[in-house]
C-alpha cells in the first residue's frame, strides 16, 4: 500500500495537467460541412431534405398569400360575438370590468412575484398591443390601451403595497367576484343568464371552473383510492373507472339530461353550470389517475420518516407526500388542463356557443361567406395563446420547483 499510494497520486496529478493543456477537439467544420453532415449525409437524407424544403416553400407561399389577401373585417365586425357571445349588450361593461380586474392583478403580480407572472404580464400586454394594431374601432382600441395601462397601474400599486399575501387573497377572491359580477342578480345588477354567455367568455369560464374545481377533486379521489378505508377506496375506484370509461361528449350530454332528474321539483340548473359540472367530473377522474402515479413515485421512506417525527396522517399527506407527488406530475396535469381547455368546444352539443361555436356561426354569415380561413386562424391563435401560456407556466413552475434536480 505504502508504495502504491504515492504512485497513483502522481499519476492523477499528471492526468490533471494533461487535461488542462489539451483543448477539446474542434467539432464545427463550417457551413458546407454542417450542411453535408446534417442534411445531405446519404441519398435518403438528401431526398428527405429536398422534399421538406419543397413543403416549407409551399407553406410559406400560401401563408404569405393568405396574410396579404386576408379580410379581417369578418373578425372586426363580429368581435363582440367572439368575445362574449350573446351576453346582454347593455351589460357588456361587466365583462370589461372583469378583464380590467384581472389585468390589474396581473400587473401587481408581475411586480411581486416576477418569474412566471412577469412573463405572463409581458405576454398579455404584448397581445393587447398587437390587437390594438388591428383595424378595430376607436372605442375598442381605447379599451385595449386601457387594459395595458391597468397592467402598469397594478405594477405601480404593488410598488407601494408590497404584500404578496394581500394580492394572493385578491387572486383567490377574484373568480368569485367576477362570477357574481358576470351573472348578476344581486345588489341591483340585473341577472344575465349564463345561457347567454358565449365566445371566449364562455370558453374561459368553462376552463377556469373546470381547472379550479377538478384539481382538488382529482387529488381527493387519488388519495381516496389509496385509502385504508374500503368504502372510500372502492368509491374512488368505481368513480374513476366509470368516468374514464365514458367519452367526454357523453358526460356532457348526460349532465344536460340526467342532472335535472336528481334535482328537487321546481329547481333548475343553468345549462352552462351543467356543462361545468360535466367538465369538472370528467377531468377529475383523469387527474386522479395522474396524481396517483405521482403518489406512488414518492418513496415509502418519506411517509415513515414523517411518522417517526410525529406528524399525523393529514400533515404527512399535506406537507410531505402531496408536494412531492404533485411536483413530479406537473407536465401530465398541465397536459390534462390543456386538453380540457380545447375540449370546452364540445359544449356545442348542449347548444352552447363557445369560441368555436361562435366561429361556426360566423362562418355561415351571408355577408362574410368564404372567409372561414380568417375566422379559423383567429380562433386558432386564441386557443394557441391559451395552450401555450399553460405549457409555459408549467415549464417555469417545474424549473422553480426543481423537477428532476432535488
Amino acid at each position: 500500500m505504502g508504495v502504491i499510494l504515492p504512485h497513483s497520486h502522481t499519476h492523477q496529478l499528471n492526468m490533471a495537467t494533461t487535461t488542462d493543456t489539451l483543448k477539446p477537439p474542434v467539432t464545427s467544420v463550417g457551413v458546407i460541412g454542417w450542411l453535408h453532415k446534417n442534411l445531405f449525409s446519404s441519398w435518403l437524407n438528401s431526398i428527405l431534405t429536398i422534399v421538406a424544403l419543397w413543403l416549407i416553400y409551399n407553406l410559406a407561399v400560401g401563408l404569405v398569400g393568405f396574410v396579404l389577401s386576408a379580410n379581417w373585417n369578418v373578425v372586426v365586425a363580429n368581435l363582440r360575438l367572439f368575445m362574449i357571445g350573446r351576453y346582454t349588450l347593455e351589460e357588456a361593461w361587466r365583462v370589461e370590468v372583469s378583464a380590467a380586474v384581472v389585468a390589474f392583478l396581473l400587473g401587481a403580480s408581475w411586480r411581486l412575484w416576477r418569474g412566471i407572472m412577469q412573463q405572463v404580464g409581458i405576454a398579455i400586454g404584448a397581445l393587447f398591443v398587437v390587437l390594438a394594431l388591428l383595424p378595430f374601432d376607436m372605442n375598442a382600441r381605447l379599451y385595449l390601451a386601457g387594459i395595458v395601462a391597468l397592467i402598469a397601474i397594478g405594477f405601480g400599486c404593488a410598488l407601494v403595497v408590497r404584500s404578496r399575501r394581500l394580492f394572493l387573497a385578491l387572486w383567490v377572491l377574484s373568480p368569485f367576484v367576477i362570477a357574481v359580477l358576470l351573472a348578476g342578480g344581486v345588489a341591483g345588477l340585473p341577472a344575465v343568464a349564463p345561457d347567454l354567455w358565449g365566445g371566449l367568455l364562455l370558453t374561459l369560464a368553462l376552463a377556469v371552473v373546470g381547472v379550479g374545481l377538478s384539481f382538488p377533486l382529482g387529488v381527493l379521489l387519488a388519495v381516496g383510492r389509496q385509502s385504508d378505508y374500503p368504502v372510500i377506496k372502492w368509491f374512488s375506484i368505481l368513480y374513476i373507472e366509470i368516468v374514464r370509461g365514458v367519452p367526454l361528449i357523453t358526460v356532457i350530454f348526460a349532465a344536460q339530461i340526467i342532472l335535472p332528474i336528481f334535482l328537487p321539483e321546481g329547481m333548475s340548473i343553468d345549462r352552462v353550470v351543467r356543462a361545468m359540472v360535466a367538465f369538472v367530473l370528467f377531468t377529475a377522474a383523469y387527474l386522479a389517475e395522474i396524481v396517483r402515479g405521482g403518489l406512488q413515485a414518492v418513496g415509502r421512506g418519506q411517509g415513515e420518516a414523517a411518522k417517526a417525527i410525529g406528524l399525523n396522517t393529514f400533515q404527512i399527506l399535506w406537507l410531505i407526500i402531496l408536494p412531492q407527488a404533485l411536483r413530479s406530475v406537473i407536465p401530465a396535469i398541465v397536459g390534462q388542463f390543456i386538453s380540457l381547455f380545447k375540449d370546452t368546444s364540445l359544449v356545442a352539443i348542449a347548444g352552447l356557443l363557445d369560441l368555436a361555436g361562435i366561429a361556426n356561426s360566423v362562418i355561415s354569415q351571408k355577408e362574410f361567406l368564404g372567409l372561414q380561413n380568417e375566422v379559423l386562424v383567429f380562433i386558432a391563435a386564441i386557443y394557441f395563446v391559451g395552450c401555450y401560456a399553460m405549457t409555459y407556466a408549467s415549464r417555469r413552475l417545474e424549473k422553480k420547483l426543481g423537477v428532476g434536480e432535488r
Binding site: G299, G301, Q302, E304, A308, G310, L311, Q315, R406
Partner: protein, 248 residues
C-alpha cells in the same frame, strides 16, 4: 428480567408476522434511561423490524411494548405520544427532498410541538452547529453528501427533543470516508446521555460506546451482554460464527 423505574423501554414477548412469515418470535428486552444498546445480527434476523416496532412503524401482533411508561396499543394517541418521545434515523436518510435542510429540521417542531418559527429556527441553527454543518442550512438535501445528509437526519430527529433515539443501520448506505463523521456525531450524542438503540455493524463504535450489545438471529434475541462479554466470551455458537464472519 425484572423491570425497574429506570427502564425506559420494556419489550415483553414481542411477536410479528409478515403474512405467514414469523419475523419476530418472542423478543423480550429492556433498555435503561441513558443506555446505549447496539443491536446486530445477520440480514433478515429481525433486528430492524424489532426497533421499528418501538415507534410503531411496524405493528407487533403479540406481546407488550412500553416506552417511557406508555404502552403501545392501537390507540392513536398513545402512538403519537410515543413518537414525540422517540426519534429515528434511517439507513436511507429519508430527508424531505422538497424542503431545505433548515425546513426539514423545523417542520416537526412547528407542526407537532407548535413552536413559533423563531424558536424552531433557533433550535435548527443550534442543532446544525452540533452536527457540524451550520453553513448548509439553506441547501436542499440532494445538494449534500451522504454523510452530511445523515447528520441532517440526526438533527431533524433531535429537533423534537426526544428521550430515545433509534438508529436503523445509519452508516450502511454511506461511502466509507463518510462513516466516521456520522459515528462521531452518534458518539457525541451517546456521551450527552441520550438513550440510544443502534442497529449497526460498526463494531468499533459498539466497542467504544455501547453499554450493551444484543445479537439477533432468526427473529430471536439470541444473546446479550457488554461489548467485553460479546467480543471476548460469546456464549452462543451462532454469535461466535457471526462475529467471526464480520471481524475477519
Amino acid at each position: 428480567m425484572v423491570s425497574t423505574d429506570s427502564d425506559i423501554i420494556i419489550a415483553k414477548d414481542v411477536h410479528k408476522w409478515y403474512g405467514g412469515f414469523h419475523a419476530l418470535r418472542g423478543v423480550s428486552m429492556t433498555v435503561k434511561k441513558g443506555e446505549v444498546v447496539v443491536v446486530f445480527g445477520p440480514s433478515g434476523s429481525g433486528k430492524s423490524t424489532f426497533i421499528r416496532t418501538i415507534n410503531r412503524l411496524e405493528e407487533h401482533q403479540r406481546g407488550q411494548i412500553i416506552v417511557d411508561g406508555i404502552e403501545l396499543t392501537n390507540d392513536i394517541r398513545n402512538i403519537e405520544a410515543i413518537r414525540m418521545e422517540v426519534g429515528m434515523v434511517f439507513q436511507q436518510f429519508n430527508l424531505f427532498p422538497h424542503l431545505t435542510v433548515r425546513d426539514n429540521i423545523m417542520l416537526a417542531p412547528m407542526w407537532v410541538r407548535k413552536w413559533n418559527r423563531d424558536k424552531a429556527d433557533q433550535v435548527a441553527k443550534e442543532l446544525l452547529e452540533r452536527v457540524g454543518i451550520p453553513e448548509q442550512a439553506d441547501k436542499y438535501p440532494n445538494q449534500l453528501s451522504g454523510g452530511q445528509q445523515q447528520r441532517v437526519a440526526i438533527a431533524r430527529a433531535l429537533a423534537m427533543q426526544p428521550k430515545i433515539m433509534l438508529f436503523d443501520e445509519p452508516t450502511s448506505a454511506l461511502d466509507p470516508e463518510m462513516i466516521k463523521e456520522v459515528l462521531d456525531v452518534m458518539t457525541q450524542l451517546a456521551k450527552s446521555g441520550m438513550t440510544m438503540i443502534c442497529v449497526t455493524h460498526e463494531m468499533g463504535f459498539a466497542r467504544g460506546v455501547a453499554k450493551r450489545m444484543m445479537f439477533f438471529d432468526g427473529g430471536l434475541l439470541i444473546e446479550e451482554g457488554t461489548p467485553e462479554q460479546i467480543f471476548h466470551n460469546p456464549q452462543h455458537d451462532r454469535t461466535k460464527l457471526f462475529l467471526s464472519q464480520i471481524l475477519h
